[in-house]
Structure formats: C-alpha cells, structure tokens
C-alpha cells in the first residue's frame, strides 16, 4: 500500500522565511510515523529540486525530534512579488509535497 506525506502528517505548512527563502514544516501525526519516515530517502534535496526548482545543494533538512517535525528550507526559484508571482507568501507551496510517496 502506498503511503503519502499527507497520510502520515497531521499538518503540513509552507511560508516564506524572508524574501529569498521558503520553509516547509511537516508535522508528523505521532512519534511512530515520525520515526518511520523522517529519514525516508524520498524526502531528499533532490525531491525539492524537482518540485520547486531549488538547487539541491542549497536545500536544508532539519529534524526536530521533540515536535516530530521535519523542516525543509530552500531558496525561492523566482523573485518574491516579481512579474510572474503566483504565491507571494509561499503559503500554498506545501500542497505539491502532500502526494509524495513514502514507500
């Protein structure tokens, strides 16, 4: 059975961290799924490069064990508020992570 990010997190959010960075917080639904998936190979800088166009070597992954959170920070691929802005505060960017498979 395929498990997706959205299935094992109780909350996922994205937001800008200053004008040049985006940060995504994956709040896992408990210690069990956090232990099982927080270092899953699918959750990698290469995935962030593929989904968001951020260079993999600039992507940061942080494991916040006490909160069962994986935090992912990456540089914005396009300028905040630029000519073709679609999501100024990056608040919708998390959505495309929800369907990433963790199998």
């Amino acid at each position: 059975m395929s498990v997706k990010v959205g299935d094992v997190c109780r909350h996922v959010r994205s937001k800008q961290a200053g004008p040049f960075w985006v940060t995504i917080d994956l709040f896992f639904d408990g210690a069990e799924n956090y232990e099982k998936y927080h270092k899953h190979p699918a959750l990698s800088p290469a995935l962030i490069e593929k989904l968001y166009g951020a260079p993999a070597d600039q992507v940061g992954f942080y494991h916040v064990d006490d909160l069962a959170v994986v935090k992912i920070s990456y540089p914005r691929a396009s300028v905040q508020g630029g000519m073709v802005e679609r999501d100024l505060h990056s608040g919708q960017q998390y959505v495309r992570l929800l369907d990433v498979e963790l199998t």
Partner: protein, 466 residues
C-alpha cells in the same frame, strides 16, 4: 526547578502594530506588573512595495487605534512603548508616518512622552562606500553586491539589533519608534537593558514576535506576556481563555524561520537546541537552556526597487467549450493576444513586454500542467497580466487585447462568446512590480554607527541627541 525571580515583564500587545490591540488584554498585562510594551509593526512578508514606496500596509486608522490604547495605558502606567519596523518596512518615510500618528495621539491625550526615532535607512552612496571597503557580504542565495544593484534600490534599510533601542532607553525614551529592526530585537531590548539573560531575552523575543501566534489557539486574543529572568523566561497569552503549551511555544521557532535551532541576530546567534519547555501552570510555559553565542556584529540589509508596470483584466468563464479544453484555450488565446499586440503597437513603442494568463480554478496558483483526465472545472477566472516599461504602455496593451480577451472563441463556427467581465472599464492599472534586491549583511564594530537617533515631542519639534 529554579523559580524565575526578578523578571522583566513585557507586554507584546499584538503580532504587529495595527493588527488590533485589545484594551482588556492590556489592562490584564499591566495588572501583572508589566515593565514595557513592545511590538513590531511590519516585516518583509508582504513584499517589497512597502519599502520601495515608503508606505504602510496597514491603514492609518488601525495603527492610530492601537496606539491610542497603548498610549492611554502609558499615560497612566508610565511604562515605555517600543515599536520596531515602523510602518511595515521601517524606512525613514515609514518611521515618519508612524511618528506623525504618535504625536497626534499624544496631543489628543494631552501628555508629552519623550519620543525617540531610530532611523536605519542608508543612502545608496553610503552603501556603495561600505561595499567598496569590503564591509558588505552576501547571504545565500545571493552573490557579491555590485553598484548597479545598489542603484536599482529605491530604499535601503539595515535591520537593527538591541543596542540602538538600549541607547534610546538610557536617554529616557518613553516611546521608541524604530525603523527596520529584527522582530526579536524589539522584544529583547528592554529585558537585556534591565539585565536579563541574553539567551532568554532573545529567545523570548522570537517566541513573542507574532503575539498570540505562539499560543495553543492563535485565534483567541491578540498578545502575550513575557517574563524574562536571569535563567529563562515564561510566556502566557494575555487573553484568559487561551493558553501556551510546550508544543505551541517550541513550534513557534519553526515559524517563518529557515533553521529551527539557530537564529542569526546582530552580534550573535540564538541557539535553542538544548532549550527546555515546561508547563508551569495551566496557561504558562517556562523556557530555560537558550544560549546566546556572541559573534562579529553584522546588520542585515534590505533594499527594494521598482521594476516595470502592470495592468490587469479579469474575466469569469462558465462556457462549456472553454472548460472542456482549458489548456488549449489558454495557449490559443495567449498566442492570439501576443500577435494582436505585436501587430497593433509599433515595435519601437512596444519595447520589452510580457503577457501572462492565470487560470484561477484550474492551475493559476501552481502554474503546473494539470494531469490528463482531470475533469473540467465548474468555472474559471482568467487573470490577464500585462507587464511593460510604463503604465501607459501596459494599459495600452490591455486595451488592445480587450476585444480578444472578451470574445475569443474556443471552438470555430459558433457565435462569438462574451465572457464575464466584473468591471468597467475592464482594465486595472496596477502600478509597478517591486522586488527585494539585497540579501547582504554589513559588518560594523559599533552597533550605532549606521543608526541615526532623533527625538520628537508632542509639539512635533525635533532635535538630535548627543
């Protein structure tokens, strides 16, 4: 567990000045023995326009209303009010806009607070000179700064640390209106001035910077009370029907923050890797173990500049022919609009321009290709965005595109459709595109070197201190 004694107590009345301070919360905080009010009044979150234009995001009446509540409380309680990143962006114009409101309220309340204005705007020549002396370094993902980038900035600010605030407090400021400051410094300055632990003060500042956002239910109430001591700090919501929990407080370190453990500030780094969060009563969390590591003093620079102009049009479409082939419609319409523009406006007038169509209800937010087999939406909104060198030109492009945008058929040999315009005239002149152009730090040995401190009183007279 050590009990926090001799704490310095800060009321953070709201997440950002103008967001809605509550009189009952302020009264409760004062009854707990608060020593100061502190709040920021902006951030970079909403884009570069506010710094580039020197205008506030909030309306004047909202900011004035919050100031009236705080200043009425100050007139009787006599404790300082500390405001950072005034007027959304913290440029000199944003500071002056805020100080005009403060002076107006003071005159209405008939009292004379001593008002410190902390300016951190730098002019372009100053920034170029600092850069030439090797004092400006890039932050990822930017590269080294060049003069042409500086020239594109309409306004440049440096984000202050705690020292300019402390300088103003030492000179007896009742109200501090600061330009761009780090969110944390605004809240940390007063406890640090009064001798609290730097680690605890900076961490309290980070936890409290969005007001009630660090509580279990961010929709209940507006502010928090911070009590900062020698070994740690406590935080509780000002609203009695809300509570802080170790989870709600520790999770706030994640918020709008790249690194959940380490926060770089002017003159050091806050490290919360080993912080402990304990529920000490139903509503209050105590935090210990936060560490302040001193580092060479740097101020982060923000610079904003204006680019080309945009004009918008919007139509709503329920036409089944369009909805059955949204992507094909988009591609054909965009091609037709560009061809129409290039045939109608002489190339030497047109210059560089751009048209984009955003299909709301289909893929406007992501810009991604919609998977094959996705059922047709019930309706879409098509946002037309023309970008050009001047507003007149962007408007002209929109007017030139209007008949096609209004009537473009999705299938041949049918009567021309008319899509749903919500406005007349159809086009909206949006103004310029604004961008943040700097992501750099300037190093200094003197935290006050780049900051100007002025004083104002309720008659509006100004004089420089020192």
């Amino acid at each position: 567990m050590p009990v926090l004694t001799d704490t310095v107590n800060i009321i953070v009345p709201c997440g950002s000045l103008g967001a809605g301070v509550r009189e009952s919360e302020v009264a409760w905080g004062l009854a707990q023995g608060a020593h100061a009010f502190a709040t920021d009044a902006g951030s970079t979150d909403s884009g570069a326009a506010y710094l580039a234009q020197g205008v506030s995001k909030n309306n004047r009446a909202s900011v004035k209303r919050d100031l009236q509540i705080l200043m009425r409380a100050q007139a009787s309680a006599g404790i300082p009010i500390i405001i950072g990143t005034a007027g959304q962006a913290g440029g000199d114009m944003n500071v002056d806009w805020t100080s005009d409101i403060v002076i107006e309220v003071a005159e209405e309340l008939e009292y004379s607070p001593r008002i410190a204005l902390l300016y951190s705007e730098l002019d372009r020549a100053q920034v170029k000179a600092l850069n030439a002396r090797g004092r400006i370094a890039p932050l990822a993902p930017k590269g080294p700064l060049d003069d042409s980038t500086v020239d594109k900035c309409d306004h440049i600010v440096a984000a202050m640390g705690v020292e300019p605030f402390i300088e103003a407090l030492q000179h007896g400021a009742d109200i501090i209106i600061a330009g761009r400051s780090t969110d944390t410094a605004v809240l940390a300055c007063y406890p640090i001035w009064r001798g609290a632990s730097w680690g605890a003060a900076w961490h309290a500042g980070k936890v409290g910077e969005c007001g009630v956002q660090c509580a279990a239910d961010p929709s209940r109430g507006s502010g928090v009370l911070l009590r900062v001591g020698a070994d740690g700090f406590r935080v509780e919501p000002l609203s009695q029907d809300n509570r802080c929990t170790p989870h709600s407080v520790s999770a706030h370190m994640l918020y709008e923050n790249k690194d959940p453990f380490r926060l770089v500030e002017p003159g050091g780094v806050l490290d919360v890797t080993n912080a402990r969060y304990i529920q000490v009563d139903e509503r209050t969390v105590e935090v210990t173990g936060s560490v302040w590591e001193q580092a060479p003093y740097t101020l982060k620079l923000e610079g904003a500049g204006a680019g080309p102009y945009q004009t918008l049009m919007l139509v709503g479409i329920q036409d089944p022919d369009v909805l059955n082939d949204v992507d094909g419609f988009h591609d054909r319409l965009l091609y037709a609009l560009n061809r129409r523009v290039q045939r109608s406006i002489p190339a030497d007038q047109l210059g560089e321009y751009h048209i984009s169509l955003r299909l709301y209800g289909w893929n406007a937010v992501s810009g991604d290709t919609v998977p094959a087999g996705t059922p047709p939406p019930r309706e879409i909104g098509v946002l037309f965005v023309a970008t050009a060198a001047t507003q007149e030109l962007a408007d002209d492009i929109a007017r030139c595109c209007n008949p096609y945008f209004f009537h473009f058929p999705s299938v041949p040999d049918k009567e021309l459709p008319s899509y749903g315009f919500p406005f007349s005239p159809a086009q909206v002149s949006r103004g310029q595109v604004y961008e943040f152009l700097l992501n750099h730090v300037v190093s200094t040995e003197d935290p006050l070197e780049l900051i100007r401190i002025e004083w104002a009183d309720a008659r509006g007279d100004r004089r420089r201190v020192g």
